[in-house]
């Protein structure tokens, strides 16, 4: 953040970066990692 301050005035914050207002974020299709499989639960045998 660049801060400009002149005596007698409120400091003005000038951001170093801002989002480009005309760019619509677009998700890029990429391979997804396989989710870990939950171990198979074997129900305990009821005697």
């Amino acid at each position: 953040m660049i801060r400009i301050h002149q005596p007698g005035s409120e400091p003005i914050d000038i951001p170093e970066t801002i989002p480009n207002p005309v760019v619509v974020p677009k998700p890029t299709p990429t391979p997804t990692e396989p989710t870990r499989k939950e171990p198979v639960r074997i129900p305990e045998k009821v005697p």
């Binding site: 207002p21 890029t28 990429t30 997804t32 990692e33």
Partner: protein, 333 residues
């Protein structure tokens, strides 16, 4: 581009953290998409670099893979050079694999500066178009100081690169083994090697995004093909004309005469001349962004420069891919 480790070792190291993505990179590493240029990457870390230590050790240690490379951002603790890949898609995937491994973000991270490397040195005017196209097409509008663009080669005696967004290579290692689409009469000829023995045009994105990598790859492809008579020569020339006309409409065409890249021409040794042009571009873009925020999205009758550049990039991306698909179907694009 000096990296003293093998691509296979890097992938083996990353595999445990992102197996599907690593497999995709391994499979398509040399695959060139629609005749685009190959993509090289350098990661400059402005923090202490501790997140990279396991990766660096796994690849052979700092002495072997980092210290061999004299080039880095002047405020960086390390510069990791990645092996080039055939497409922007593979480059993005590779960075995502590294993100998984190191457990922190590489994209849009103010501590990380991504340098995108394209084969072929562009002339001064086309370098200007590369830089301006990147800046206006990015998903982030940035303000710079000249120091943000300082590297260890800024004032190097043999390879002075100045403080610029676009930087030439320093005649290091160069991997030519990527397809190059060449025009032969009315046909496309796919050469197995790039037509340059050496030479790159790199772009220091700062805190970069996936879109930046895609845009730089598209811009560099069009401009390099226009300069070196590649298959996309005609499309590249047309893009250049449209981009120049766009700048003229906004009374910014004078920016193209500034020294956006340090060439062999001694007159290009003018960081201040470049920076004044960059500042003008930045001010124009920020002003435009304020206008859009006040009035909402610009309507088509009074489109601003940011919207125009987005449309232009989209138009040429679609055109290039469309023509390439026609070729695959057996027709002449």
């Amino acid at each position: 581009m000096s990296y003293r480790y093998s691509f296979e070792d890097l992938l083996a190291l990353l595999h445990g953290h992102a197996p599907a993505k690593v497999d995709a990179v391994a499979l398509h590493r040399r695959r060139v998409e629609h005749g685009h240029l190959s993509v090289g990457l350098k990661i400059h870390c402005l923090g202490n670099g501790s997140q990279f230590s396991t990766l660096v050790e796994g690849l052979g240690g700092a002495q072997k893979i980092l210290d061999v490379n004299f080039y880095k951002h002047s405020r960086a603790s390390l510069c990791l050079v990645l092996p080039p890949v055939g497409s922007a898609r593979s480059a993005i995937l590779l960075l995502e694999c590294i993100e998984r491994f190191i457990g922190s973000a590489l994209f849009s991270n103010p501590e990380i500066q991504i340098q995108v490397c394209s084969p072929g040195r562009l002339g001064a005017r086309r370098s200007a178009l590369l830089a301006i196209g990147f800046y206006l097409g990015s998903d982030t509008l940035r303000r710079y100081t000249l120091g943000d663009l300082a590297t260890s080669f800024a004032e190097n005696q043999t390879y002075p690169r100045g403080r610029r967004l676009v930087l030439y290579d320093a005649e290091g290692d160069f991997d030519r083994n990527f397809d190059w689409w060449k025009e032969s009469g009315k046909h496309r000829l796919v050469e197995p090697q790039l037509p340059f023995e050496n030479g790159r045009s790199d772009l220091l994105t700062g805190s970069g995004s996936r879109l930046d990598i895609q845009n730089i790859n598209l811009l560099a492809t069009l401009l390099v093909h226009a300069q070196y008579q590649g298959y996309w020569n005609q499309l590249g020339m047309q893009f250049q004309e449209e981009m120049e006309a766009l700048l003229e409409r906004h009374v910014l065409n004078g920016l193209l005469d500034a020294p956006w890249v340090r060439t062999d021409d001694p007159e290009s040794d003018d960081d201040d001349g470049f920076f004044a042009a960059l500042q003008e571009l930045v001010a124009y873009a920020f002003e435009e962004s304020v206008r859009i925020k006040k009035k909402g999205r610009p309507v088509s009758s009074s489109r601003g420069i940011l919207q125009e550049v987005q449309s232009l990039l989209q138009k040429y991306r679609s055109e290039l891919v469309g023509q390439s698909r026609l070729l695959d179907q057996g027709g002449r694009a």
